[in-house]
Symmetry: C2
Subunit: 236 residues, 2 copies
DNA sequence: CTATTTCGCTACGAGTCGTAGCGTAACTTT
DNA sequence: AAAGTTACGCTACGACTCGTAGCGAAATAG
């Protein structure tokens, strides 16, 4: 008894906001911070993120409330605010987990097959109602929030870009694409090329799914791949 | 005096919602409905949409409130709810006006120049903070709202697609692209082709600007156009 | 055991939402 | 000119969400 209220005697408070969740796939859980007190419940993290995805599906971004998420997850609302500083940050983490699990690039033997595969894989991810609703909402919020942009970059963009880099290297090894030029310029050009390809592929799939509102079926993936390969394999 | 409250003696009310603004560029204004009472103020429409854009720039989608918009526009909050059924619908109309004014396709003499021009024009539109913030937010909301999807389609998608169709026809007239095949199949294939090109161009520009968060400069537009043309001009 | 941190809970003021009701203004029809 | 109809500005309202504060209890490290 007579417990000394810990929070009270803290310094002015690090900020009004909360833990950055360090952009890892592993949220903000467990000990290992070298900290001394009671560790955050990893189970609570899991439940919260899952509840967030479920609430997104049912309510959509606009009507999703943190109070509702807390109730679904079986935790107190205050716990949410202790870990994330708002709706956007929470949803990014909730959706980022899906990008971890579901994006791979098995070697399908040819550049064409690899490209077509990644298109369909990404399209399948976007078909999920959680991602469909959340991704663009978060992107929209990020236009006014630098920290959120950083989060999206590491949780979504960088992960996808890695697939492009890998596929490109494989194609070069197969001789389907010319190797990168040597030197600093060559590396810069290669990076630019990767960025371009990434925006074209991801952009087209996202746009067709969310803006045009039509499905990415096998036929479309094939046509798009054909168009793309002609551009990729022609002279620089 | 003793005025008979008009609203009271109306039938059960058309709905809880509001005027569809009929998807025209001209909002919901003026008489000419053949209606009989006081017409809606077109000036109010103009002021509201402009106030909406201004509020978007300052506050962003998340913190934009209809009460604030009403105050800026110098109208009563209730007037907003009489014309639009919510934030999303209002913002779509507010942003759609920009797409009207700013999207044209002057004949630049070659397919390459036309494509590069439309890319830069669209990119310039997305640079504006109103569109940057609003477009994806609205798209996100639309994933759960069929009516909103229709609005976006007519206010944004169809207008842009028209540019693709026009550019394509010009290129065919110049002999830069093969003419469409005859018959029903030919027309269907042409429509598919237009859809594909549209999603690739608009998608890449949107994705680079909003997701990757990098500028569409002249160099990028050139590289992208090169990639695209190689794909377009190669055999089907 | 002591120090420290997190947890669930309750409570709260501030702010927004969307609607209702009223009296007035503007326009059409007779 | 009068009557009928619709839009407008204003005020007020209950319902809800937000984000924070404070408390006592639980969980861990040393």
């Amino acid at each position: 008894m007579i417990p000394i209220t810990a929070a009270r005697r803290l310094p002015p408070r690090p900020a009004a906001g909360m833990v950055p969740a360090m952009s890892r796939s592993e949220p903000s859980s467990s000990a290992q911070h070298g900290r001394t007190g009671r560790p955050r419940s990893a189970e609570a993290d899991r439940a919260i993120l899952e509840a967030t995805r479920a609430a997104l599906v049912e309510l959509g971004w606009g009507k999703l409330t943190l109070g509702d998420v807390a109730a679904r997850a079986g935790v107190a609302k205050t716990t949410l605010y202790r870990r994330w500083n708002g709706k956007s940050a929470l949803v990014v983490d909730a959706v980022a987990a899906l990008f971890d699990e579901r994006l791979e690039l098995p070697d399908r033997g040819s550049l064409r097959a690899d490209v077509e595969g990644v298109i369909q894989q990404f399209a399948a991810l976007l078909e999920r109602p959680e991602t469909k609703t959340a991704l663009m909402a978060v992107v929209s919020e990020a236009t006014r929030d630098e920290a959120l942009r950083g989060r999206i970059r590491s949780a979504v963009v960088d992960r996808q870009k890695r697939l492009v880099i890998m596929g490109r290297e494989r194609a070069q090894a197969r001789g389907e694409l010319p190797p990168d030029a040597d030197g600093e310029d060559g590396r810069a050009a290669a990076a630019h090329h990767v960025d371009l390809i990434y925006d074209v592929i991801a952009g087209a799939v996202v746009h067709r799914t969310l803006v045009s509102g039509e499905r990415v079926d096998a036929g479309w993936a094939r046509e798009f791949t054909t168009l793309l390969l002609a551009g990729l394999t022609s002279a620089p």
